[in-house]
Symmetry: C2
Subunit: 230 residues, 2 copies
């Protein structure tokens, strides 16, 4: 299972591309692209930089991190697992990167020059539509997180974060957290204390089981209920 997924992801971008463009055209992308490995904690695309590159995440997990210059606070807009096209923002508009994309697990990335990809998209509508659809999923998860943060308080938001992690990142109700408590706080937009207290409370109530980085959602229904009532 794990190997199969890895295999799919490894050649992810090439596989997707060849459904729409010719091997010749793909070679044009390859010529100006590189395959890179990023260690946990390394920045793949940096906030404020010109959008010279688009990254295709072949394997691993990445956080979208906004860092505030004035307050120094971080916000995690969303967390995504491979396969995904990163830097979608830059694909769309020409401004400098709004936020950074940082590996929270070791990642394999196919780094593409934006303008080369862009020319191909312009010449191939089907390819463009397919890539934009892929890129837009990340906007959706950011928007959903926004809605959660805007509408719910602490516990509802933290519940939403865990539900999202289980359903869309780790694909399992039991997983090893890639994020520290501080990062979980930056994701749910609350303080570290809130995260720690809520984890302890839910542990006692039998909703989850935590042991360091290992987290298991025991009572999924209860968690969904907490999410719902906000």
């Amino acid at each position: 299972m794990a190997e199969q997924r890895l295999e799919n992801y490894y050649s992810g971008f090439k596989k997707i591309s060849l459904q729409f463009i010719t091997a010749e055209e793909f070679r044009r992308i390859e010529k100006t692209s590189v395959n890179l490995k990023f260690k946990k904690g390394e920045t793949i695309l940096k906030q404020g930089h010109p959008p010279t590159h688009v990254a295709f995440l072949q394997s691993g997990i990445v956080k979208f991190n906004f860092s505030s210059e004035s307050t120094g606070k971080n916000t995690i807009l969303t967390l995504v697992s491979a396969p995904k096209i990163l830097g979608g923002a830059n694909l769309f508009y020409k401004d400098n990167n709004l936020f950074s994309m940082v590996a929270v697990e070791d990642c394999e990335v196919f780094l593409i020059e934006s303008n080369v990809l862009f020319e191909l998209l312009k010449s191939n509508g089907r390819f463009a539509v397919a890539l934009f659809q892929l890129a837009s999923e990340m906007f959706k998860s950011s928007i959903l997180n926004f809605i959660s943060v805007a509408n719910k308080q602490k516990e509802g938001r933290i519940a939403d974060v865990f539900l999202y992690l289980a359903q869309d990142v780790y694909f399992h109700s039991s997983f090893n957290l890639s994020l520290t408590r501080k990062e979980l706080a930056e994701f749910a937009c609350c303080s570290v204390e809130n995260i720690i207290m809520t984890l302890s409370k839910w542990q006692q109530e039998g909703i989850i089981a935590v042991a360091g980085k290992k987290l298991e959602i025991i009572n999924m229904e209860k968690l969904k209920q907490i999410s719902k009532i906000g």
Copy 2:
């Protein structure tokens, strides 16, 4: 000035389209499209509905409104003025509309069948790229609002809302608010009382001048400073 803008906006979508597709192709879109007028308060595209249509906002102002079933609370993700392509979300992914798009000023809208437009986008990469770029601006303003809400408290958020309205919606430091105090609260993610108290306070401090719906930003620098310190 106003007339010139109106003229540009009125034929906005056709004008943009004809830069990329033929008159013949545009007629294909026109055949299944309608020109509609929406009064202030009317819903153009509804949350939860299938994404059967994309709307091009020819004139007017629209809010992106998320309504929570469980809590009944509304959140305004962003506010946009013409010309814009609405329902971009649906252009990208196939899920039902995440949020509603509601006229907050009388609007003229060119309502297009998604699948007809989609076929054209697939056959014309330049057109696809142009439309996606237009659509993505709205994501950007939603994300910026998210970042503001996540990082700043009340006053910083309200300052950001007014700065956004002046710079990106009304294009003037003095304008007639299309939003009620309640809607401003839903936009800045705070209570109505926060909005009212902050308006009074800033009025006294000479930062703004308010009289009912009329709002003038007197000290733009001060407002930017409040935004910056959060």
